[in-house]
């Protein structure tokens, strides 16, 4: 628990409130009609109000501060997002089965190798590797059967991201 008067929680609340306030002010220079902006203004107003309440609670009741989760690490979020996007791009361009196999195989081979090196159990590495690759093939085939053969999912080539 932080003993500072102004913690990261209050700072984040303030930042969101300032951004929403900026958006709220911007709506007055927008070309949209007044009624078109009615609900967006409510939305931005709520974010401003919520952010201010978070800030006030942070300042007035520092004892009640709930610590932010430390489990969530941004580089992993970016990495996983990029991997998912790359897989989405790959299955449209190199085929669903190939992309799925590669996506799973690369990840599982790397994890199996890392585990073998960490625990020094290279004797089992080949067996684990064979099992994981077989599983990757099985998943790729099932995915192909469900989404392409059965559901006839449309997969146009889209080389550009």
């Amino acid at each position: 628990m932080s003993t500072k008067r102004f913690s990261l929680i209050g700072l984040t609340g303030t930042l969101l409130a300032v951004m929403a306030a900026g958006g709220f002010v911007w709506t007055f220079s927008s070309s949209l009609r007044r009624m078109e902006l009615f609900v967006p203004r409510i939305a931005l107003g709520l974010v401003v109000f919520g952010g201010i309440l978070i800030l006030l609670k942070d300042i007035l009741n520092p004892g009640e501060r709930d610590t932010l989760s430390r489990d969530w690490v941004l580089p992993y979020a970016i990495g996983v997002s990029l991997a998912m996007w790359a897989y989405g791009w790959a299955f449209r361009n190199i085929g669903l089965m190939t992309a799925t196999f590669l996506f799973l195989a690369i990840w599982w081979v790397w994890v199996a190798y890392r585990d073998a090196r960490r625990t020094g159990t290279f004797a089992r590495f080949r067996v684990t590797l064979a099992k994981r690759l077989a599983l990757a093939v099985a998943v790729a085939v099932v995915v192909q059967l469900i989404f392409v053969t059965l559901l006839r999912m449309h997969l146009p080539r889209t080389p550009l991201p």
């Binding site: 939305a43 974010v47 669903l96 890392r114």
Partner: protein, 506 residues
């Protein structure tokens, strides 16, 4: 149904309790549960796929298949919500919080069983209400004009914000973000583009399925992958240590535990039936509203952190909508959701013109539908029970193996929704929003509810202002509106005061 037609009822009984009908219901249930359990594949998909069968199958077989798929799919969505924190269908999103927390505590089996039993109880309740109140409730629905609907949606939004969190600022902030995401796209009346930032795909708004998939599944995926990379020794199964400890002795749900959740099941059944009978709200809104309302009455201190009552509240509500959604459909020909629109299409293709006269002109068909909806529930219970062990075992698969497969299903499921690569990007954006929510400990309920209700709220609100030519007193023009506004104000004051007293006592 002013008078009960005995002959039609007996004919319906003989049709529904035949072997072929039972077989089609069973196939529907198994397909529904299996597809519902696949994140991203909404159960409207198999219903749409089996729709052409109505051209050559008799009506009882077609409707048995469709109703079985509908009920099985509605329950099936909870399986992955509980086992992996990824709702299989949007209606199961409210189940994630408590269901997945229970799985992580090694009580996944109990949670799955509670989800199943609550679903069946909610489904039966909704079916019985459909049978007995189809006409009275159907007659009440048209009285909900734009003014009344505005008041109703405002009530739902207010309560969720009040109920959602100990910190009202976070609840309001979360609802504000949900409101904002919902207004992106074309204006519902003028067609003007709002906050699309020049992106063509955004003109149709922020897509619902990628939002739900990304918001719930991606943060968990990131967390699990982080665990596998940073601490491979600890990253075991989804249920981590508790599942390991109880893997052989993990107990099922006891009758007492089920009985202790009577509030959640009761509230869920009533809320789900009521909201299911209104066009628009649907299973997701019903589940969240029930979950929020039960949160105020429960005595379970673990509510929101791994409570069986939380699972019961959400699951009974979303399955209670299955029967109730037929009320506006059969009485006025108004499909309350996309799925009931598909069911309506099947009835029309079978030569049944759905509308106010259907009860008089096709009494036997109506009785057959009632019975099919009712009979599908025991089948749901049976096959749900048979399939639970299969899905429970999946939680024992090591994280390093399981989560990449879920990532695959997540990406393909999101893409399959509309065959648009843009949806994958939206899923990732929603996932990053969900990641922020987890980090900042914002409640997810207000965002999802605000996102779902805002288009309905805005449509009725602006229709009301257009009809009344800008006269705001129109919102207080009827007794229903006045009652709803009073209920909103009283409920908000009551629950805020109650919460304040509760926190002072603590």
């Amino acid at each position: 149904m002013s008078s009960f037609n005995v002959d039609a009822a007996l004919a319906a009984v003989s049709i529904v309790f035949a072997l072929d009908t039972a077989l089609f219901i069973m196939i529907g249930i198994v397909v529904g549960i299996s597809v519902g359990a696949l994140p991203g594949l909404a159960h409207s998909l198999p219903i749409a796929l089996v729709l052409p069968f109505s051209f050559f199958l008799p009506i009882h077989q077609t409707m048995g298949l469709l109703i079985g798929t509908y009920q099985g799919g509605t329950y099936g969505g909870s399986i992955t919500a509980i086992s992996f924190g990824t709702p299989g269908t949007p209606g199961a999103a409210a189940t994630v919080t408590d269901g997945y927390a229970l799985t992580k505590q090694g009580k996944g089996k109990k949670a799955l069983q509670m989800g199943l039993y609550a679903s069946v109880v909610g489904g039966i309740f909704g079916s019985i209400v459909l049978i007995f109140l189809v006409v009275p409730i159907g007659q009440m629905a048209p009285r909900f004009g734009p003014g009344e609907l505005t008041a109703l949606y405002f009530l739902a939004l207010s309560l969720v914000v009040v109920f959602s969190t100990e910190n009202p600022g976070k609840g309001i902030l979360s609802a504000g973000i949900g409101f904002f995401l919902a207004v992106i796209g074309r204006d519902i009346i003028t067609g003007g583009l709002r906050f699309t930032f020049g992106i063509r795909y955004m003109q149709s708004g922020f897509p619902l399925v990628p939002l739900l998939m990304g918001f719930f599944a991606l943060p968990e995926l990131i967390y699990q992958i982080h665990g596998v990379i940073r601490d491979p020794d600890k990253a075991g199964k989804v249920g981590d240590q508790p599942v390991e400890l109880h893997s052989k002795t993990e107990e099922g749900l006891g009758f007492r535990e089920m009985w202790r959740s009577w509030r959640g099941i009761g509230i869920g059944s009533v809320v789900g039936t009521f909201l299911g009978a209104l066009p628009g709200p649907g299973a997701t809104l019903a589940a969240y509203t029930s979950y929020s309302v039960t949160g105020q009455f429960t005595k379970d201190r673990n509510y929101g952190k791994g409570s069986l009552e939380g699972v019961a509240a959400a699951e009974s509500a979303n399955n209670a909508t299955c029967g109730a959604t037929f009320i506006p459909l059969l009485t006025f020909g108004i499909p309350g959701s996309s799925i009931s629109a598909l069911l309506m299409a099947a009835l029309i293709m079978e030569g049944v013109p759905v509308g106010p006269r259907v009860v008089v002109d096709h009494t036997q068909v109506v009785y057959t539908l009632f019975l099919l909806i009712l009979v599908a529930n025991p089948f749901n219970l049976l096959f749900g029970k048979l399939l639970i062990p299969v899905f429970t075992r999946l939680t024992k698969i090591p994280s390093a193996v399981l989560w990449p497969i879920i990532a695959v299903v997540l990406v393909i499921g999101t893409y399959a929704y509309n065959s648009r690569p843009f949806d994958i990007l939206m899923c990732i954006v929603a996932g990053l929003i969900g990641y922020f929510y987890k980090w900042f400990k914002l409640p997810d309920g207000p965002l999802i509810l605000a996102f779902l209700v805002t288009p309905l709220f805005e449509a009725s609100f602006r229709q009301a202002l257009t009809i009344s030519r800008g006269n705001w007193m129109f919102f207080l023009g009827s007794n229903i509106s006045r009652v709803l506004w009073v209920v909103t104000i009283v409920a908000v004051i009551f629950f805020v005061v109650k919460r304040k007293r509760h926190s002072e006592e603590e």
